[in-house]
């Protein structure tokens, strides 16, 4: 099991500098999600790691072996990197078994390894089917099995779930995670879906402006985003201006408690406070709090997200998540209170 490390990776297409000094350290055996918006260079990163493109600058090290860097380039066929593209890219002229066995030596193509992999990805009995006879989720599993067949050092996945319908996505995700866990293989997944990244990966790297803006475990990222922009990118965020004094900040929602150890604790002054929707309580039966009016109510079943406009504060709408069982009609008067400790950055 080997890790993967990139140092100061650079790549441009024409005048478009896609990767601009990207450094990433993927721990051995972990599943790391690279999260970035459209056009952020996620796919370029994968293609550089796989060896389909050559970096303009920087290094890629696989385990202890440099595979790309000044004066060094290892061809893709010698890197032992499994690549699972977005659409699966199965060989249309080959059966499931032949697809999975494609990278194996000729004598072991018909052997136990293929049967074993079919079983691992749950496709036993479909060995003689052709790709066009499979569903999207099945194609995705074949692509994964094909990549795992050659016992790769690293598995790379390019938005592997985005072409699946939402109902199937959750189950395929869980299966893929279990398969990768049991295969004990280092894997990198790129995605634009923060929910997918946070729920699936051991580590998340957020790709922004051609470099890694933040790297960490999902919970660390969600709870400690490096800046306000990151907070907004990783989930819903209410960003309120405020004035900090020690561990308290005065905001439009009254005084809120700040988390210990923040930079603003000593500096004080004008800050941006992050209040997650789940930290705002909207009560319909009176009591203390800031009076507000419900503008919109998104009922999701498992929770409800309200858009509320505080009465005293004019045009600023806030998002509040409730576990409320009953939808709230727009126009309902509510009282807002906040709970927990907040993050804040000097503005």
């Amino acid at each position: 099991m080997s890790g993967l490390c990139t140092e100061d990776l650079r790549k441009a297409f024409g005048s478009n500098q896609v990767l601009n000094g990207l450094s990433l350290d993927v721990p051995p055996g972990s599943l790391t999600a690279v999260l970035g918006s459209s056009g952020s260079g996620k796919m370029t990163l994968l293609r550089l790691i796989a060896g389909f493109e050559r970096a303009d600058g920087g290094r890629i090290v696989l385990g202890d072996t440099p595979v790309d860097g000044p004066g060094c380039f290892v061809a893709p066929e010698r890197r032992r990197i499994g690549y699972v593209p977005q659409d699966g890219a199965l060989f249309p002229h080959l059966t499931v078994a032949a697809n999975i066995g494609f990278g194996l030596p000729r004598r072991s193509r018909g052997g136990d390894r293929v049967t074993e992999l079919c079983a691992i990805v749950g496709l036993t009995g479909l060995e003689s089917r052709y790709p066009h006879e499979l569903s999207g989720g099945q194609q995705q599993r074949v692509a994964l099995a094909r990549a795992l067949a050659v016992k790769p050092n690293v598995v790379l996945m390019d938005e592997p779930f985005s072409s699946l319908d939402p109902a199937m996505r959750a189950s395929v995700r869980a299966d893929v995670r279990a398969i990768l866990r049991s295969a004990e293989v280092t894997s990198v997944l790129v995605t634009h879906d923060q929910d997918e990244a946070l729920s699936l990966a051991d580590h998340v790297a957020v790709l922004r402006d051609g470099r890694i803006a933040q790297f960490g475990r999902p919970q660390e990222l969600y709870e400690h985003p490096v800046d306000a922009r990151m907070a907004g990118f990783l989930g819903e965020a209410n960003l309120l201006p405020g004035v900090a004094d020690g561990r308290t900040a005065q905001t439009l929602l009254g005084a809120v408690r700040l988390r210990a150890g923040l930079a603003v604790e000593t500096a004080g002054g004008s800050v941006v406070v992050l209040i997650r929707p789940e930290q705002i309580l909207a009560s319909t039966n009176g009591g203390p709090g800031i009076p507000a009016t419900v503008v919109d109510c998104e009922y999701h079943g498992h929770d409800t997200v309200l858009t509320v406009r505080p009465d005293a504060l004019g045009q600023l709408p806030l998002r509040a998540r409730t576990d409320g069982l009953d939808p709230v009609a727009p126009g309902t008067a509510v009282k807002l209170t906040v709970r927990g400790e907040m993050l804040a950055w000097i503005s």
């Binding site: 050659v150 938005e159 923060q194």
Partner: protein, 532 residues
């Protein structure tokens, strides 16, 4: 709750486009050599013209003959192309989009005339109705011979068209006839224009049928000047006009905005549209199709059979020469087909996988050959042979090269279509699984484009077997192919002696024609797309 940043489909398209691969030097160099080789005839036509001199070319062109040839060529091309468009499109629509009885049989029957050389159709009609000569005879024969060139692409486009568009049009309150004009025909627009282009270029190039029908066009006149009058300067001057006409047609088609391209938003849906019931029109449509097949296929095949049966004893001595003509024809045609398919491969790979301005220019320049009639290519090669490559003049290689040059565009179109369906991403996957670049190409891309290469071979083989004009000029000394022997007999009005040669020619051409027809129907239908 997930915050999806942008549409994943957009990312995919975006991302793939951004990764422009560096063009491999070997591929680029091979393609340039192929393009240069294909343009040799044009170059030598110009060299030839340069030696004839501007003044004499002007003298040869500015005379009454040129004007009457131009008028003959243009009025024939206009009317025949229009008729082919109407017949080809109607037949395609009836067979592909309506609940016509016996659709599968009709689909085969209507493309079979493509395997019958136009001069054999002329032979069939003339032996049945000897008075059928001149303009209207030419229109009739050429329409019957060329409408499959419109039918094939338009039928393929109807098959792959998104039925959703027609359904939406119906739901917006349009009647079926209006839907046909405003939606269906628009969907098939580029296929129809492409077919019409092929028809007009074929009309410019035709020699044999017009000679039999005694209808004078540029090609027949060039041939006569060269072969009968030994007047090479006149042939060269007239060739310039002919090539110019071809280039005008080609340029005209290319300059039309290509709005027929489909833009699909969602994933490709392999769904067959519901077929329209013909109702009371069923019988008239069946009669029309029967008439078409009877005229295009029944008359020539019937007359060949008639002569075979009634010729009796006079054809017997021909057996050995028939066999040798068959072997020569098959051999030259197979060599040319293999050569053309081989040459088309690098150009197709370059054009599809390494799109850039110069790869487009390169591809276009190879398609320019379409505007070169066989007689011009043959004359250019004669000039090249007699002046520079005497040992090759009137040898098999020169004839094979002529065929390969003439029919290169057919090969390119077939190979290109499958290369476009073999994404380069698959080769990358194969490499990540440990295959060296060449192995990856052999194990992944080659099997995927093999049907296209086979189709290219079939198309060029079929076209070479039935080629007459260039063959008459370039056929190696002492050799008779099926076409030249057929021609020699019909020129002496020995129709019964000619019949066996026509029969074998059709037999040789019909198998590849059927294969190509099958390939077209499978490759252009949505179910054949690689990613379901």
């Amino acid at each position: 709750m997930s915050v999806a940043v942008g549409d994943p489909g957009v990312i995919a398209r975006h991302g793939r486009g951004a990764h422009r691969r560096r063009t491999p030097r070997v591929l680029a160099a091979t393609s340039v050599i192929v393009a240069a080789a294909l343009l040799v005839p044009v170059v030598f036509l110009l060299v030839d013209a340069g030696q004839v001199g501007e003044a004499s070319i002007a003298r040869l062109l500015f005379r009454g003959l040129t004007a009457s040839l131009l008028w003959n060529t243009v009025r024939l091309a206009a009317v025949t192309t229009l008729l082919c468009a109407v017949i080809g499109t109607s037949a395609a629509w009836w067979i592909e989009r309506t609940a016509l009885p016996g659709r599968r049989a009709w689909a085969v029957l209507v493309i079979l005339p493509a395997a019958v050389p136009d001069f054999v159709i002329a032979y069939g009609w003339l032996s049945a109705a000897p008075w059928l000569t001149g303009y209207w005879g030419a229109v009739l024969v050429m329409t019957l011979g060329l409408y499959p060139l419109v039918y094939l692409p338009v039928a393929a486009s109807f098959r792959s068209a998104d039925p959703g568009q027609e359904e939406v049009a119906r739901s917006l309150g349009l009647r079926p006839a209006t839907v046909f004009w405003r939606v269906t025909v628009r969907q098939a627009r580029s296929a129809l224009l492409g077919g019409c282009l092929l028809v007009s270029l074929a009309l410019l190039a035709e020699y044999g049928a017009f000679e039999m029908l005694r209808y004078q066009t540029f090609t027949t006149e060039i041939f006569t000047e060269f072969q009968v009058g030994f007047n090479a300067p006149a042939a060269c001057a007239l060739s310039l006009v002919l090539v110019a006409l071809g280039v005008i047609i080609l340029g005209g088609e290319a300059s039309l905005p290509d709005r027929g391209r489909t833009s699909r938003v969602g994933p490709m849906v392999a769904r067959a549209g519901s077929r329209l019931s013909l109702g009371r029109a069923t019988v008239p449509v069946l009669v029309a199709l029967s008439l078409l097949v009877a005229m295009a296929l029944g008359v020539p095949v019937g007359m060949i059979t008639y002569w075979l049966v009634h010729g009796g004893v006079s054809t017997l001595p021909a057996t050995t020469s028939l066999l040798s003509a068959t072997l020569y024809t098959a051999g030259y045609s197979a060599a040319a087909a293999a050569l053309a398919a081989l040459l088309a491969l690098p150009v197709a790979l370059l054009a599809v996988r390494h799109r850039s301005r110069w790869s487009r220019v390169l591809e276009r320049s190879t398609l320019l050959v379409q505007a070169l009639p066989g007689v011009v290519v043959a004359l250019a090669l004669v000039y090249l042979g007699t002046n520079y490559l005497l040992p090759l003049y009137q040898t098999p290689p020169m004839l094979v090269v002529a065929y390969a040059v003439l029919f290169f565009p057919l090969a390119l179109i077939a190979v290109r279509a499958t290369v476009a369906r073999a994404p380069v991403g698959l080769e990358e996957i194969a490499r990540s699984l440990g295959k060296r670049p060449l192995r990856a190409r052999l194990e992944v891309t080659l099997p995927l484009i093999a049907p296209g290469i086979a189709a290219a071979f079939c198309l060029v083989f079929m076209a070479s077997v039935t080629e007459l004009t260039a063959t008459l000029i370039l056929v190696p000394t002492g050799v008779q192919t099926l076409a030249t022997q057929f021609w020699a007999f019909t020129s002496n009005v020995s129709y019964s002696a000619a019949a066996p040669y026509a029969a074998v020619m059709i037999a040789l051409a019909v198998v590849p024609a059927l294969l190509v027809g099958r390939w077209f129907s499978r490759n252009q239908s949505p179910s054949a797309t690689l990613q379901p």
